[in-house]
Symmetry: C3
Subunit: 374 residues, 3 copies
Amino acid sequence: MSAVREALDALRLVDHHCHGTVTGDLGREAFEPLLTEGDAWPGVSPFDSPVGVAVRRHCAPVLDLPRHAPAEEYLARRSGLGWREVQLRFLRASGADVFCVDTGYSPEPLTTPHEVAEAAGGSAYEVVRLESVAESVRAAGVEPDAYADAFRAAALDAVRRPGVVAVKSVAAYRTGFGLDPARPPDAEITEAARHWLLRGGRLDDPVLVRHLLWTAVDLGLPLQLHTGFGDNDIRLHRADPALLTDWLHLTAGTIPVLLLHCWPYQRQAAYLSAVFEQVYLDVGLTLHHVGPARAGAVLAEALEITPFRKLLYSSDAYGVAEFHHLGALAFRQGLAGLLQERVDADELSLPDALRFARWAGRDNALRIYGLNDD
Amino acid sequence: MSAVREALDALRLVDHHCHGTVTGDLGREAFEPLLTEGDAWPGVSPFDSPVGVAVRRHCAPVLDLPRHAPAEEYLARRSGLGWREVQLRFLRASGADVFCVDTGYSPEPLTTPHEVAEAAGGSAYEVVRLESVAESVRAAGVEPDAYADAFRAAALDAVRRPGVVAVKSVAAYRTGFGLDPARPPDAEITEAARHWLLRGGRLDDPVLVRHLLWTAVDLGLPLQLHTGFGDNDIRLHRADPALLTDWLHLTAGTIPVLLLHCWPYQRQAAYLSAVFEQVYLDVGLTLHHVGPARAGAVLAEALEITPFRKLLYSSDAYGVAEFHHLGALAFRQGLAGLLQERVDADELSLPDALRFARWAGRDNALRIYGLNDD
Amino acid sequence: MSAVREALDALRLVDHHCHGTVTGDLGREAFEPLLTEGDAWPGVSPFDSPVGVAVRRHCAPVLDLPRHAPAEEYLARRSGLGWREVQLRFLRASGADVFCVDTGYSPEPLTTPHEVAEAAGGSAYEVVRLESVAESVRAAGVEPDAYADAFRAAALDAVRRPGVVAVKSVAAYRTGFGLDPARPPDAEITEAARHWLLRGGRLDDPVLVRHLLWTAVDLGLPLQLHTGFGDNDIRLHRADPALLTDWLHLTAGTIPVLLLHCWPYQRQAAYLSAVFEQVYLDVGLTLHHVGPARAGAVLAEALEITPFRKLLYSSDAYGVAEFHHLGALAFRQGLAGLLQERVDADELSLPDALRFARWAGRDNALRIYGLNDD
């Protein structure tokens, strides 16, 4: 095993963006859709995709099965062990011990940040999803001209809870990033709120999404932004982070902005991280979907020009604990592979490689979120 | 030779999208422009490009010449053998035995699907290009308010001919994909037809192109869509398949949609194939243009998240039979290379690799087009 | 050392786009920002980025330091030698002997083309930046309805100076390429000039930028266009060269157009070079920013379909002479690596590889700019 890989394997990762896992045992019909950003379709099992191959290869052994175990055996063993044991094994296997958990998306019951931390033997912090806050404000009832203040107050309440270290927006899903970058005037917010409060549904009004992003600036916490890859609710071309450039100019000098996922726009994200002080990135979600076989290639593109202080690790694991393990494994394997290759070619010194690995896997996140390293 | 390569070499491919070849011998002035999506320019021979290098390397031996034979010798030998023998050799060398032939583009006389099949010792099916149908309707004479029905009737006639298995659209060339995704109302179609019928020329009215795509949905056959790379008539950024997302939502549950070529948007296409049940993709055309030296790299990107049930093989060979051979070779070499590499790294089991290779090279196409495997 | 690498190392390069270097010694605060398209930020030293790693690895030995020397030592040695000696060493190390120098951007005093040539022991030519010409016309005072003629006259004067071989535009920075491609009518130019002359500031009016591009066509010299990667003044998605397609159609048959940098749109640029006779490209700037560790990967994408007559070398070195050396090294190492790999795999003959290397590194540029090879 290479020196960089050994160091990365020994490093306790900070997973700066993830979710809880489903609290309950999962049959095939429930498990397969959680494996994919698409769905399980007749004749097209998610097990027959790169992420499914990676699960059978790398997760089966954690459940005491041989590598490449068939899907049926995998599911049977998983059920046999029970979801608590499965979660425990994968979180322990991940080697992460600090988790920033997005608690704002939960169409089915998920483990809490505390439960994630406990299973991993580490600590957890919370990330507040601002769209969920806005939708709670609407649900509680508010007049259009009181919406802006009510949303801000609710967001402040949410982030003042203990353990909250960041906010998140899924503007990429709701409107995309082709928004007017300016802070919207009060009258426009009231007018937009009037329509949205009447119409209902999720927050997807462009003025209110802009207002949400600017409220994040006022809150002063780091802002996580979903960019790129997601489910079919995304218009991928509108989730290109380069579209945020004007907004990044207007908000320079305020809050750190963390571009999540980014694929297939990892080079565009790298550009932003290289030219804006406040911009950081990860290739979470992508790591387990492409699997260890391609994680190195994606990371290599992401790192072509990214300053080594600007890359973070996240799993973006959601629903199944397998992704905590797979994300961490793909990150360690991919990053170690590319750094070691440069060391072997004498393009990089070993001490530098070890330093950059530690920064990306742990220190950058601790620094940005102001966490102590115990 | 690796186990996967051996299996792929033995596999009879289904080429789900190709064209006929020019019926006649070709001098240098006629041959060179067929080698490229550009042209032969003074001092810039298409032989001095990746596809030209690949022709001299991989096609010369099929004509009994040494590898890397000079262009002059290649052309002389090609003429000496005669176009029928050349076509026969390359089609046999391709190892494909089922061909879906787009018969709607033929600025010069081309071999028919039957002739392609006969030369290859296989069977051929037909793909109806809907823009050509529309243009025939105009040529035959029609009133604006009868255009929609006339086009639909002509399309129905065309697809009911024996051997037709799919339709195709070149909307990417005509308008790009940044269209209103909704089915256009009758009045709009009539109005648009009024202008187009007067103005003439090829079908490039946005309303009529939308109508064409929705007519494809009504026909019920799989729809092949040119995306990405093509000649300079394309605006590449408008041929990004991600722009189709809204239309794919509206047409979900109807017809299979096959994204052709895709380069350089193979990752965007992969995303769509992963999140929409009806979406499939290939990297045809690209394979011979980048040549075997880079086909593996392009396929690796295309396969980062594509379910293995969703990748197909096509050559998109047009005009010269060399591309039947080169496309097949680049596909086999590229796909075998990346699958075997994963097997060697124990990221994939050999039985899975062989299964996925067979699906991509043959079974997926047979399944989508409802063809029997004799 | 491989045969292709040996040949490329021996080849005197033509650097078809670069700048001068700062005339004076540089402390850390002055040097670090010149290393990056971003800036030096608290806790984020540009030395801890791919380009910084490459400087410590490949530039330190040119200053008699060990490979991977620490930043402090590097800066101390650099100051100790003095900027003239540093410039001399890096320019000699670059192995380039013909330089086309963009003289239109100089926020700080830079060496002249003559000084660059002298240090390198070669010859230098000048590239006229048209935006600077326009801004000089405004500074000198002109009436709105005389602007068009005055700009044209000033541009003609500028390109008639001895040693001028090309013009350049930074339209990518000012408006991006999503412009109306048509030549603007006189009345529109006058109206736009009226506003700009009043308002002042740099030339960023869309009508005047279009007029500038069309004036380049009238001048008849090759036009260099910044595309893709740059500092945070760029909106990356508007610098995608594919957006130029309509304009390239309208100007076909007039002047050569050289797409500079291109990353991350090197495939889009490659497409344009393959389908438009007048289009050429390089991946300058990118080469030293990604460093030798990734230059081969970027070049491999750029060359997927680019005719070998269409690739050029540039460093786009600005401010520090290190980039002359790093750009040249990354180009030689990257191009040699990918060509030799193809030779070793018998995908390319060695004589062809050597020919293509010489074309890209030297001959293509000599041909386009009409330079003698002494």
